[in-house]
Symmetry: C2
Subunit: 210 residues, 2 copies
DNA sequence: TCATCTGATGAAGTAACCTTCAGATTAGGA
DNA sequence: TCCTAATCTGAAGGTTACTTCATCAGATGA
């Protein structure tokens, strides 16, 4: 039978034929494109639909409202980043902590700078639509992974690992945000990166029990 | 004569009598209160006016539109923080770099945690209304001040001071943001703070030419 | 006291846009 | 081929909220 509880964030209908899957994809892509082109203030469901090459009705067949649409787009982006970070956490298992810290820092930058405009546009959205809640959840998952990674380090770390992970994450995210907001030239970006690496390395070194 | 160029962000009219100054104050206070109570999505100019105890018309006498209103409220908040940081930059002049870094870290936390709800509410706004531009300007000013402060340190710093300042700022801001978004208990907050201090101290120590 | 300027009011105009739904179109299988 | 279910369409309804302006009230100073 039908779902008993129809959440407002879930799609109304799941695509079963190929064409509808294509529609959903197109709509989500269009959402980001419109966001980039006109900004979230002027993003309208109709505009997204047109851009996606479908009608508004179609959009509303898969997304119960505008908010859910934006959330879905944001979720896609966040999950991509999540996967990337988790990949690093597997790769770096057992490495020296300083290596880990550097790898994480570089991975974060790499994934955010892969498509900086999109990142920026979506982060602007995240302060609406309970995006904050979603980001918090994602951050918690990353935190878990990083703490796990740190646990595998050969060094004896005296600090609480989750705490350490949180500080690392937040600090890295802070610098990345700064880089996103002020679109620097490539060159300056690398310098900044190096500096940040110095910071996280210094920090984790200080956390190693002597 | 009248202004030749009436910017959309400037007030239409400057208060000259006492009662109008009171209105403007009330409106700005009300803006923050409404933001806190109902969130920016449901903030309407009428609601703000009612809360301020004036009519919508009065509001529009001093703010050309909703956006300008929000910007003004944000500006007040940002400038308060700015003043606080600049104060620290004066106080810490000539101290050892590690002291400076710690003082900055603590000052940032203190000022943001003085009224966390307001901070959070206003930051949500800053992604609209060109808030980003304003934040960037503020950040640049802070950067200047911090670089100046670092210059006064007794140690010989090999790194470019503006770069160092930027990294410090962003990192500190990142952790603060995290703290704001996840409302932690007081206790955990102090622990986090200590950890962050460790990080910035380690970093600036690493920047000291040996 | 009166004239004049500043300030306040809030109903009404206007615009934008979200969302629906009844009917048209297309795909998949019997 | 034909039937049924899935999908698409987009004009129209309805809501919400921004902003204006004609008018009223209060202050200032001569």
């Amino acid at each position: 039978m039908a779902q008993l509880t129809a959440s407002l964030s879930e799609p109304r209908k799941s695509p079963v034929q190929a064409r509808s899957t294509a529609s959903v994809d197109a709509i989500l892509k269009a959402t980001v494109q419109v966001l980039l082109k006109v900004g979230k203030e002027k993003l309208t469901t109709t505009r997204v639909a047109v851009r996606a090459g479908v009608s508004v009705g179609t959009l509303y067949q898969y997304f119960p409202n505008k908010s859910a649409l934006l959330r879905a787009a944001l979720r896609l982006h966040v999950e991509e980043i999540l996967r990337e970070v988790e990949k690093i956490c597997v790769l770096e298992r057992g490495q020296p902590v300083e290596e880990m810290a550097e790898a994480l820092t570089r991975a974060f930058l790499e994934v955010k700078m892969r498509d900086p405009k999109t990142s920026r546009a979506l982060y602007a959205v995240s302060s609406d639509v309970e995006g904050a809640k979603m980001m918090a959840t994602a951050a918690a998952r990353v935190n878990e992974k990083i703490a796990g990674l740190l646990k595998s380090a050969p060094e004896r770390l005296t600090t609480d690992l989750h705490l350490m992970a949180t500080v690392l994450q937040s600090s890295i995210a802070g610098v990345k945000r700064q880089l996103l907001e002020s679109d620097m030239p490539e060159a300056r970006l690398e310098v900044m990166q190096r500096e940040q690496v110095l910071m996280v390395r210094s920090y984790v070194r200080a956390c190693v029990g002597q």
